[in-house]
């Protein structure tokens, strides 16, 4: 079980950092020269309005269309947000150069030291997304992290790049609770692994069970807890494990429409991140729990709510759900009007899921 991953040119963290620094310097130089020439500088910001978010079938993810809005200092009403964007680039440049990390909330407060005023955090969050779109780099590259954290466990050796830990190595199987996927894991270099597979799992409880049951050893797997909808840093790590280490990624979620979509976002991104290109694992496979598994494994179920059903009909309009298993499972869910959680396997014993279900599904996945 070792699919040949399509490997785009492998970028180490250091390379990424350098190219980002160059990108920022280029932007800064552009604006510097504009001012020197007495020209009012501007940014082209890709439009993130709904009408400009399109599904790219080739990339197999949502991307922004060609619509671009100009944020110009010529326009008085844009002057403030231009300066905010400018400041953020300046501040991110410092973060990257000094290898410091910050949070969305930090950014909001940091701005006040520079006489750049944000009315509230949503305003600064929005400017961060603008900068992501301008640079087509996720905010994690700019050393700006959200509060949400997820975990990883397995035989993976990494080398830190964060200040004070430069060159220090760790193996992610050393701690049984797993490792937080935070700034240092997001910026580390991936050194070595004996694993042949990455299993992303929706729930922390199951993640712990998998560690206890030594799934990492039995299946030669790196286990990732997505803690619900996978945060960007987690998706970015999954992508790196796939692209840089050549590991196939499989996903286990609850047997409901939200679970199916968690898998889809890992595979092909979300509309919210349509301006970014490096957060998807197009080859990732959703192992389950499928709607069809509910009957097949006679899982205890709970009835769907109105909003569950509405979510199904909404997703049925999404271009990614128009064919294959994705489409089929939605239809079955809609027919059953019932759902099953991962924990449902416990009815047949706590290890039923790792002993029986997982091997069967992994076997099946080979043919997907």
């Amino acid at each position: 079980m070792k699919p040949k991953p399509k490997t785009p040119p492998k970028k180490s963290t250091e390379e990424r950092r350098k190219s980002l620094a160059q990108l920022l310097k280029n932007k800064g130089t552009e604006i510097y020269e504009d001012l020197e020439k007495g020209k009012f500088p501007s940014f082209s910001v890709p439009s993130r309005s709904v009408s400009n978010i399109v599904y790219d079938t080739k990339l197999r993810q949502y991307v922004l269309g060609s619509s671009v809005s100009l944020r110009s200092t010529r326009n008085m009403s844009q002057l403030r947000s231009f300066t905010q964007l400018m400041w953020l680039a300046f501040f991110a440049n410092r973060l990257v150069n000094e290898k410091k990390s910050s949070t969305l909330r930090d950014i909001y407060y940091s701005s006040q030291a520079f006489a750049v005023d944000f009315e509230d955090q949503p305003e600064s969050d929005n400017i961060i997304v603008d900068l992501e779109a301008v640079l087509t780099r996720p905010r994690e590259d700019l050393h700006i992290f959200p509060e949400e954290r997820s975990s990883v466990f397995g035989d993976l050796t990494i080398e830190y790049t964060v200040p004070g830990y430069e060159g220090k190595r760790s193996n992610l199987s050393d701690h049984p609770d797993g490792y937080l996927i935070g700034p240092s894991l997001s910026s580390c270099e991936l050194v070595d692994t004996s694993a042949e597979l990455v299993i992303a799992i929706e729930k922390g409880g199951l993640f712990t069970r998998f560690v206890e049951e030594k799934v990492d050893k039995k299946f030669k797997a790196i286990i990732v807890d997505t803690a619900g909808q996978a945060p960007r840093s987690t998706r970015y790590l999954l992508k790196r494990l796939h692209d840089e280490m050549g590991l196939p990624v499989v996903i286990l979620t609850d047997g409901d429409v939200y679970g199916e979509h968690i898998a889809m976002v890992i595979k092909s991104g979300s509309a919210n991140a349509a301006h970014l290109r490096e957060l998807t694992v197009p080859d990732a496979k959703w192992l389950g729990v499928w709607a069809s598994d509910i009957e097949k494994y006679k899982l205890p179920t709970i009835p769907m709510t109105e909003s569950d059903i509405k979510r199904i009909t909404d997703l049925q309009k999404d271009p990614r759900y128009q064919e294959g298993n994705w489409k089929k499972q939605l239809e079955i869910f809609l027919k059953l009007k019932r759902k099953a959680e991962l924990e449902a396997f416990s009815k047949y014993g706590l290890t039923n899921i790792t002993d029986k279900y997982l091997p069967e599904k992994l076997e099946l996945a080979k043919s997907l």
Partner: protein, 612 residues
């Protein structure tokens, strides 16, 4: 039908005493305020009428400052007006319904009733006399101390002295129960607003707490005084017509001794006693010099064929012109007689004229304003009367028809505005400037218009910014130079102001905006007895709206100029703040040491037209 009750006639004083609520004297708060108004308005009216620039001094003092309200106050108002002749003073201030303001022209008060009511109220509540000082010649000042005999409606002079003085004017001082704690704000408002609409007057107010309010003259010219005029046909009802007819004809003459003496005097027969024939001959010779009522008596005598001695013993009961009969009562014989009148004689014509009154055409042209002969004849045709119809012969039904037709006839000229006294655009503007020191001001005086036969003129001013605090539009309402302070809710001016869509005139949020509205009319259509709000007559509403729209357009053009200037300033400030930041950030980003030279761009930035 029998009743053991007695029917007493009550005097006007008694009536007002019993119904003082009607005149605004219902409680100590309201009474104090009403008394101030009445005296101040009388003082201003008196000066206006004589073309004197008014100096009015108001003072209110507590008799015992330690006492809690309500308590007795001494209210004094002093003016530099023409004063009142000594002989009229007791009657003017000691009699209800004795006044000089009965006539059709614009004035603040109608009949001068209020001042007497205030005196009456003061006397009722404190049992103190009123002090009046008056000088008409600027040399001698008469000083009176009066009280009212309420039941007899007569003044009682307690003291009358004269003193030397150097100024004309009237000063009046009463003691009354009031509540300044509650009425104070209202009175201060009243004084403030009165000064605003009377910029040619100096008004001062010393309040009981020792505060002094001084509003000195802003302009030194009086607005033109109004003239007294006849009523307009649209403005009369049946009752008014009846009263006008009564004024225009003579009633059946009473031939008492008094009348006979007058006839004798005019004929020059006070010492002589002539017989009937001699009397008639003498009358014929002197006919042209005789007054109208004497001619009527002579005419009657010609049919009675009586001398003075006989005439004094009868009473004329009826003169039936159409049936040519004259009926009289003979006291001597205690018997009624009816005689025929010869329609061919001049005497009969004389009687006809006086008893039946004028012709309709003559009535209309003489008694109404702006009605000419042609209009009067057209009207007669319209109403279905003969032009030579004697108005004295009209039945009640015909009078109602006449009154209705007067309302409906479409081609009467609009009422004569010469009886109005608007303030004028210039004094209004100067007054508003002095009061509000605004950034922008515009005023307008509309042409005269009329509702229901009453002429009116609307004056309006609008002021923006300056000393005016923000917080939305403040409307000052005036009617006949009186401030209308309360019951704002249902007023027509406020209705018109509220209907304005300010955003169309580039006015946003809670602007520092003042609107001064002044309606002048011989009759302001007040909604309530309290005279605080004007009813929404369509004609008045229309004039107010046109005035306000005119002013709002002026304001809009000012606002857009101001907006451009403000925008420019805002731009300059924004670029001054942000451009250095952009320069600082990009310098570090680009890895340079020296900041780019952006200073020249600051200038350019301001000149860029707003692009959004």
């Amino acid at each position: 039908m029998s009743s053991k009750g007695t029917f007493d006639q009550i005097s006007p004083s008694e009536f007002f005493y019993r119904n003082r609520d009607l005149a605004g004297f219902s409680n100590p708060t309201r009474s104090l305020y009403t008394a101030v108004r009445e005296f101040v308005e009388n003082a201003l009216d008196a000066c206006d009428q004589q073309g004197i620039l008014p100096d009015v001094h108001l003072s209110i003092k507590a008799v015992d400052p330690e006492k809690p309200d309500p308590k007795p106050y001494i209210l004094s108002v002093k003016d530099n007006g023409p004063g009142i002749e000594s002989k009229h003073v007791p009657l003017a201030f000691g009699t209800v319904l004795y006044g000089s303001k009965f006539g059709l022209k614009q004035a603040r008060g109608m009949f001068g009733l209020g001042a007497t009511m205030a005196i009456l109220y003061g006397q009722i509540t404190t049992n103190k006399p009123v002090f009046v000082k008056s000088s008409t010649d600027g040399k001698i000042q008469d000083e009176f101390e009066l009280i009212l005999d309420i039941q007899k409606n007569k003044p009682i002079v307690l003291k009358h002295e004269t003193q030397d003085t150097s100024k004309t004017g009237l000063s009046i001082s009463i003691c009354l129960e009031g509540d300044y704690a509650k009425a104070g704000a209202k009175i201060r408002d009243y004084v403030y607003q009165t000064s605003l609409i009377t910029p040619y007057a100096t008004v001062t107010f010393d309040d009981p707490k020792g505060e002094k309010f001084r509003y000195t003259k802003i302009v030194r010219s009086m607005p033109p005084a109004p003239t007294i005029i006849s009523p307009h046909p649209y403005g009369v009802d049946v009752e008014t017509i009846k009263r006008m007819i009564g004024d225009s004809k003579f009633s059946i003459p009473t031939v008492d001794n008094n009348t006979i003496e007058k006839v004798k005097t005019e004929l020059g027969l006070r010492k002589k006693d002539l017989n009937y024939t001699e009397i008639m001959e003498r009358a014929k010779r002197r006919w042209s010099s005789l007054s109208r009522n004497i001619r009527v008596v002579i005419a009657v005598m010609s049919f009675l064929k009586m001398d003075f001695a006989k005439l004094s013993k009868i009473r004329i009961d009826d003169i039936d012109v159409s049936r040519k009969k004259l009926t009289y009562w003979d006291f001597g014989e205690s018997k009624s007689f009816t005689i025929d009148m010869d329609p061919e004689t001049d005497y009969y014509k004389q009687l006809t004229n006086t008893v039946q009154g004028e012709t309709l055409v003559s009535f209309l042209t003489k008694r109404f304003q702006r009605v000419g002969r042609t209009t009067a004849e057209k009207f007669a045709d319209f109403a279905g009367f003969k032009p030579e119809k004697r108005i004295g012969t009209m039945t009640n039904e015909e009078l109602v028809k006449l009154s209705d037709s007067l309302q409906k006839f479409p081609t009467f000229l609009s009422p004569d505005p010469s009886c109005l006294a608007p303030l004028g655009a210039e004094p209004l503007e100067k007054g508003m400037k002095a009061f509000f020191n605004p950034d922008f001001i515009s005023v307008i005086q509309r042409g005269a218009s009329a509702y229901s036969g009453f002429p009116f003129v609307v004056e309006m001013g609008i002021a923006y910014g300056g000393d005016i605090p923000p917080g939305g539009t403040k409307v000052y309402r005036f009617a006949n130079r009186i401030p209308l302070l309360y019951d704002e809710g249902s007023d027509v001016v406020l209705k018109v102001v509220e209907e304005i869509d300010w955003s169309r005139y580039k006015v946003k949020g809670d602007p520092p905006l003042v609107i001064v509205s002044h309606i002048c009319s011989t009759r302001i259509p007040y909604k309530t007895v309290g005279k605080e709000n004007v009813a929404d007559r369509p004609e008045i509403e229309r004039e107010l709206r046109l005035a306000l729209q005119f002013l709002s357009r002026k304001l809009a053009s000012y606002m857009s100029k101001r907006g451009l200037a403000e925008m420019e300033k805002k731009r300059a400030n924004l670029y001054l703040k942000y451009l250095p930041l952009v320069a600082q950030f990009c310098t570090e980003l680009a890895g340079k040491q020296k900041e780019p030279d952006y200073k020249k761009m600051l200038k350019e930035a301001v000149s860029i037209e707003a692009e959004t």
